[in-house]
């Protein structure tokens, strides 16, 4: 019982790190521009399929494809931000929702066309396949890798946001966009880079999720719910909030699947609805 509990905690935390990578970008961009971007998981899919292509067709090593997944998703985000999103910053929630759902549908169909609807699989290198024995328990190497990646990204992001000039601009824009503009901060530029960074991180998350949860064209829709839960519960524009919410969600989802399999996803949705009713701005949200 106790060792299974530790196993669930470990697996859930690894899963939570994946959710963190997928959702942190959305949380920050939502906080900055109030733009409801439901297509965030489509960016993750861009990264995931970039890794599949690079490994399968060109034979790149797994670790080398990860930065490319980040770059590909980031570039696609910049492109979409410049051409479509930019025009709708002042539009209603509904218009933003519809535009981005449209992009989700298009991306699902496009990837189904080029890659078929089958689950993609990749061959991760040997040192990530096995497992590590410690304290009488078995830890899957890939999940350790996931947790480490998540923590490194968290550290880098916190450093970027708390310690750099760019981070100060982003924080100012999240807190009060009009005031930030008044002080001469180029909010649009800061937003573009944040958006690209968020999209890129989602792409990295997408690439890492192939081995853990699989990748098929419906990824953009099926993980959207989880990402939105993380954002809504963690609070807009909060990196620490996203991290906490993603960890809690990952662990409770794993625990639910392990201890109450008959409940299905019911538990997760119930927790989300209850949390939202209690704190509509999220656990760590400011607004």
């Amino acid at each position: 019982m106790l060792s299974s509990l530790a196993g669930v905690l470990f697996d859930g935390f690894a899963y939570g790190m994946l959710l963190f990578l997928l959702s942190v970008g959305l949380s920050v961009t939502l906080g900055m521009m109030n733009f409801v971007n439901l297509a965030h998981c489509s960016f993750a899919m861009v990264g995931g399929y970039a890794t599949v292509s690079l490994m399968g067709k060109l034979g790149w090593p797994f670790l080398a494809t990860l930065p490319m997944a980040f770059l590909a998703a980031g570039l696609v985000s910049i492109l979409l931000e410049r051409t479509l999103y930019r025009k709708l910053y002042r539009a209603t929630d509904l218009d933003q929702c519809l535009l981005t759902i449209g992009i989700v549908f298009i991306s699902i169909a496009a990837y189904a066309w080029f890659y078929t609807t089958e689950q993609q699989s990749i061959q991760v290198p040997e040192y990530l396949q096995g497992s590590v024995q410690a304290m009488g328990m078995t830890f899957a190497a890939y999940r350790i890798f996931l947790i480490m990646t998540g923590l490194v990204v968290l550290g880098l992001l916190v450093f970027l946001v708390e310690r750099t000039r760019f981070g100060a601009q982003v924080r100012a824009a999240v807190d009060n966009q009009r005031m930030a503009r008044g002080l001469g901060i180029d909010v649009d530029r800061a937003f573009m880079f944040t958006f690209a960074l968020g999209g890129g991180l989602a792409g990295l998350g997408g690439a890492l999720s192939i081995q853990m949860v699989g990748l098929d064209p419906t990824f953009a829709l099926s993980y959207l719910v989880y990402v939105l839960i993380v954002v809504a519960v963690g609070g807009l524009g909060s990196i620490g909030g996203s991290f906490a919410a993603a960890s809690v969600l990952g662990i409770s989802d794993m625990a639910g699947k392990y201890y109450f399999p008959w409940l299905g996803a019911f538990l997760i949705y119930l927790v989300m609805v209850a949390l939202l009713m209690w704190r509509p701005a999220g656990l760590f949200g400011k607004r």
Binding site: L98, A110, A265, V273, P280
Partner: protein, 309 residues
Amino acid sequence: MRWHPLEIVFWLCTLLPFVVTPNYLSLASQIAITALFALSLDLILGYAGIVSLGHAAFFGVGAYTAGLLAKHYWSEPLTGLVLAALAAGLVGYATSHIIVRFRHLALIMLTMGFGLLLHEAANSASGLTGGADGLQGFKVPAVLGFRFDMFGRAAYAYSLLILFACFLVARRIVNSPFGLALRGIRENALRMPAIGAPSRAHLRKAYTIAAVMAGIAGAVLTHTTSTVSLETLSFGRSADVLVILILGGAGRLYGGIIGAIIYMVARDQFSGLNPQYWYFWIGLLLVTVVMFLPNGILGGFARFFPRKT
């Protein structure tokens, strides 16, 4: 509010499928049901400004209520319709108290959350609902003395009649002072109480009415097809009806109906297409509508034919 001649022509045209395309009557009744569902969403989204990504919850509650009644108790459809409307209305009224407190992302998430919760609940309670297999093994023989047959004449007449009745109610609501107040709340929810329209109470009423109509639509689907599938509660159905309404034009009574006709006919024509690719065109359509036709097809028409005042 007087009837515009075009409106009368439109409703006369809805009788055409009986004589012109008798082979497509079951599609026509599907369209009527979808149009009713879109009309119910229009009341809260188009007029009251509540963005809902979980409207299928009420459609499903109505469908399952009607199905369970027909399976375990009696198969008379009209009382089933009333009870389904009542059940959906109750669920709508209960959730409306929560819904009206929230706006923006939290609102979208909550409506979606309730929809997903009901979907999961129906999936888990497979003893009652049949789970993923759906509810089967019942038959609604006739309505008002007309037998449901394989040609779908009675089915279409029934769906059309219910659609028209609900449309009359919606038309009356929209043109009443209450409807005007709803539009005011949509534009500015804080200012309306100052001129004597209690925002939250009005929104609760509108939400409940919309839930009742969606429940009726679900019940009609159950009666005409004699099955209830889990799909009636799915997120996909909520998203589809949103697309339909936006395509036709939200905030216009005929928006949902026009959207339903175009969407369902197109889907029927392209049914040979893999559903994956069907969604590509829907996505492209959505992006185009949002970028270039912000008020849907009817809004686009209205721009070319400005109303004389």
